[in-house]
Amino acid sequence: MKSCDFPATLDSLGAIAEFVMGIAGSAGLEKRASHHLRLAVDEIATNIIVHGYDEAGLQGTLELRADIDDRTLTITIEDDGAAFDPTQAPVPDIDLPPEQRPIGGLGVYLAMRSVDEFLYKRVGDRNRTIFKVHLSSASLEESGRA
């Protein structure tokens, strides 16, 4: 298990991406799956920072945790920003030409489609967002855990 705290500001996005790519490397994820995981975490972290903290007039910390077991890589983000359940967000109509689309909703849409499982829980006064990627036999060999 690995964990790291990041200030809830957009300047943290680079360091959050590094954390996630480091974990993806240790789990032996291939390039495409690593990119998808980074995209998912980046989009949700951005949402939490912008809507959960900035727009709510709050300051705080994003706590990231990574767990790798035989079958799954799990990344968890916990924050004490404003409550937001991404799984209840409206789904954007990606068939509409871009100029006719409402702004927003794309990040959550990308995040939820970029990992194998996407879960959200409100725990007390905290948001917990969980990303799971199933590890293939190839990634297990790559990481020496097969």
Partner: protein, 112 residues
């Protein structure tokens, strides 16, 4: 790699060279270049992406903004996008509103 966006306008064609990682923290940098390009009433917007390693939805929103700011007849070209960048554009349907080229093709782009 640090993000950069550099605009060059010549003969009605705006070219923005993008490099590095385009996440929400740097999307305003890209947006400013698009605004400058739109203000010059160009006929084409060409995004040179071969050095762009990552694009988040904040970068895609700037493409929506570009579409809205520019005249309906202005084509947007995406040149040399890396697979992970193209993948994000495809997942969100953006590939259908741009013209994707592997390399800069003057005959196609500059034939106005």
């Amino acid at each position: 790699m640090a993000f950069s966006a550099n605009l060059m306008v010549d003969a009605g064609i705006a070219k923005i060279t993008l490099a590095g990682e385009l996440d929400a923290s740097v999307a305003p940098v890209f947006q400013r270049e698009v605004e400058k390009a739109a203000a010059q009433k160009v006929n084409r917007l060409v995004l040179l992406m071969s050095e762009l390693e990552y694009i988040a939805s904040a970068g895609l929103r700037t493409l929506i903004f570009a579409r809205q700011k520019m005249e309906p007849g202005v084509d947007i070209y995406v040149v040399g996008a890396q697979p992970q960048v193209m993948d994000t554009m495809q997942m969100t349907g953006f590939d259908r509103s741009i013209i994707a080229l592997d390399t800069y093709d003057a005959d196609t782009i500059e034939n106005i």
